[in-house]
């Protein structure tokens, strides 16, 4: 029964919600909203479980003087200060502990919480740089294509990109020509000819690439984002949607039970 009852509840809830999607008539039309309301109510109560877990976890760390126990002490202290001060000031002075105009809560939110969030978010810029450094390496054909597309999109999306991009790409082509020429001088026969052709093509491409980027960089960046990028994204979305429906049906029909004990 420990499995059967949750499976039965899941089946009934799932079927009702599927019906609610197609039948707007009462009582089905409002079902989704009703279930969402209940989810919020149940979720509110489970927050007590969460707080219990959070405080016990951090208390254990303090008790055992585990690495970083000072952070745990700060957490517990901040929790109780916010709770009591917030309740005290909010409930007494403002008649609501959740009143945003309560001085302490407003101060705490504006000058502690928001800057901390902003600090974490701003770290993303550095992490993007380090991840891009690893990802954008011209190891083979595919990664070179990725690097070129990323460079075009990045330069096409910044104000000075249109002016800078032609020079960057012209310089890269010049370096490429130099590389081919240098490698070609070390070899003989057909290979040498191929290297020299490569060097010649690179030099010949400098002007057209410079011209195209100078005039059409923004359009190229938009085209990459709107056509190939969007096509790939939509392909993934279709897969996710079909996978989601299949998984939902598996859950509703009780085929998928891994989430149950």
């Amino acid at each position: 029964m420990k499995r059967e009852i949750p499976l039965f509840i899941t089946f009934i809830t799932g079927v009702l919600l599927v019906i609610a999607l197609f039948v707007p008539h009462k009582p089905f039309g409002q079902l989704q909203q009703t279930f969402n309301d209940w989810l919020i109510i149940v979720g509110g109560f489970t927050m007590i479980l969460g707080l219990d877990s959070l405080l016990l976890h951090n208390w254990e760390k303090i008790k055992r003087k585990k690495e970083g126990w000072i952070s745990s002490a700060f957490l517990i202290a901040s929790f109780f200060i916010t709770l009591f001060w917030g309740f005290g000031e909010g409930a007494i002075a403002h008649r609501s502990p959740f009143d945003p105009s309560a001085t302490f809560l407003r101060y705490f939110y504006t000058y502690v919480f928001v800057p901390l969030q902003a600090t974490m978010f701003s770290l993303l810029a550095f992490f993007i740089a380090s991840a891009a450094y690893r990802a954008f390496r011209a190891k083979d054909g595919n990664s070179t294509l990725l690097l070129s597309a990323a460079a075009l999109v990045m330069l096409g999306r910044v104000p000075a990109g249109q002016e800078v991009a032609p020079w960057i790409f012209a310089f890269v082509l010049l370096l490429l020509a130099y590389y081919f020429f240098k490698e070609g001088s070390k070899t003989t026969g057909t290979q040498k000819t191929l290297y020299l052709i490569g060097a010649l093509v690179s030099i010949l491409l400098i002007y057209p690439v410079f011209y195209i980027l100078l005039h059409y960089l923004n359009g190229i960046a938009d085209w990459i984002m709107n056509i190939p990028q969007m096509a790939a994204k939509r392909g993934i979305w279709i897969g996710i949607s079909l996978g989601g429906i299949a998984m939902s049906l598996r859950i509703i029909l009780g085929v998928e039970k891994t989430y149950l004990q």
Binding site: L21, P24, Q30, G43, S53, A246, M247, L249, T258, Q261
Partner: protein, 365 residues
């Protein structure tokens, strides 16, 4: 000013052709009102819509819309009661009323016509899935290509055990109502089972208390299935915070302190995805990520060792359990994808020749 009023009334015309009708495909309690804008629409401040109940003289203000808008949905009506409407164009100096509309009655509908295509696809997809599950029941074997990210679970847990380090499983910031979170729990069960076999420790910091409770049960089940319920420690699956960047900071701190040998980033992720993945990379852990958040996938692909892309996450439980019934649904999914690909190609060809059958059919979503 009074002497100017007749001139103003002559200059400003009212909205015309006011129509009221039952809002289609809804659950009742709503009438839609439309009208033609007067030529002086640019001079209008707003349009006031007045509702008149049958056999009652005085109208009530049902609502207002800004200039340039010629439609209004009145949701303050009772079902099966006749209402008529007048629209007043409010100019800076005067207000001009339209003619009364014909009466309209709100009636709840039993079927939402806008979801015809969705219903058709759902029924068809349901039949396909049913057929493949029946075939699986009859013993038909299903081939599923290898999913590198799932194959690597054992390697990651094994490596972590060899290094004597714990395993960190991050279920993302999704709620239990997200299918992705449920898919993540399926993977967690497998990880927990493997960890129990290798006598390793699994740490699961949670964003949502309900997910925490579900994760505790899942890990407990994994340890029990592996025959090592004694190794299960409920305190390793705990609630961290329900704040997005607070969660990222907490998990990052854990990575730096605990130095896990393997990190699983499975679930719904937003901006914190790369922060977590890059920190995980910096501590030298083997990382297996998976999400259905399309915008975060490139970050995971760039920063982690293996990535479950979108639907691969949903296939995880079937793939790992090898249950023929579940594998049958994956096969059905593939057939649907093939049908979609054919439909898209056919749509592109037909649109190129100016035939809009497919796009028209899909536009009723």
């Amino acid at each position: 000013m009074g002497f100017l009023l007749p001139i103003l009334l002559f200059l400003y015309s009212p909205p015309t052709n006011v129509r009221a009708f039952d809002t289609p495909d809804d659950g009742g309690g709503s009438i839609t009102v439309t009208w033609d804008l007067p030529p002086e629409d640019s001079a209008v401040i707003r349009y006031d819509i007045y509702r008149y109940e049958a056999q009652k003289d005085s109208g009530k203000l049902a609502g207002s819309v800004l200039k340039g808008i010629n439609t209004f949905q009145d949701v303050g009506v009772k079902d099966r009661v006749e209402y008529s409407y007048r629209v007043a164009a409010v100019y800076p100096d005067t207000t001009v009323f339209s003619e009364m509309s014909s009466p309209a009655v709100s009636v709840p509908q039993w079927f939402n016509g806008k979801t015809k295509a969705a219903l058709f696809i759902l029924l068809f997809y349901g039949i396909v899935l049913f057929w493949f599950t029946e075939e699986a029941k009859k013993g038909r074997r299903t081939y599923i290509r290898k999913i590198a990210g799932l194959e690597a679970v054992e390697e990651a847990v094994g490596r972590s055990t060899e290094l004597g380090k714990p395993i960190l499983f991050v279920p993302g910031i999704g709620m239990i109502s997200d299918i992705t979170t449920i898919a993540a729990l399926s993977i967690l069960k497998r990880v927990a089972k493997k960890a129990a076999e290798y006598e390793s420790r699994v740490i699961v910091p949670n964003f949502d208390p309900i997910v925490m409770v579900a994760a505790q049960e899942t890990v407990k089940e994994g340890y029990t299935e592996a025959g090592r319920p004694d190794l299960y420690n409920e305190k390793d699956i705990f609630f961290l915070t329900s704040d997005q960047f607070g969660y990222a900071a907490g998990v990052d701190g854990m990575m730096m302190r605990e130095k896990p040998g393997a990190i699983f980033l499975q679930g719904t992720f937003y901006a914190e995805a790369l922060i977590l993945a890059e920190t995980g990379h910096s501590v030298g852990a083997i990382q297996i990520s998976g999400t259905t958040s399309v915008t975060q996938l490139p970050f995971f692909i760039a920063a982690t060792d293996y990535t479950l892309i979108g639907e691969e996450m949903y296939a995880a439980s079937a793939y790992l359990s090898k249950d023929p019934l579940m594998l049958g649904t994956i096969k059905g999914e593939d057939l649907m994808k093939l049908i979609f690909i054919v439909t898209i190609i056919a749509g592109v060809i037909l649109e190129t020749f100016g035939i809009h059958i497919i796009s028209n059919w899909f536009s009723i979503f």
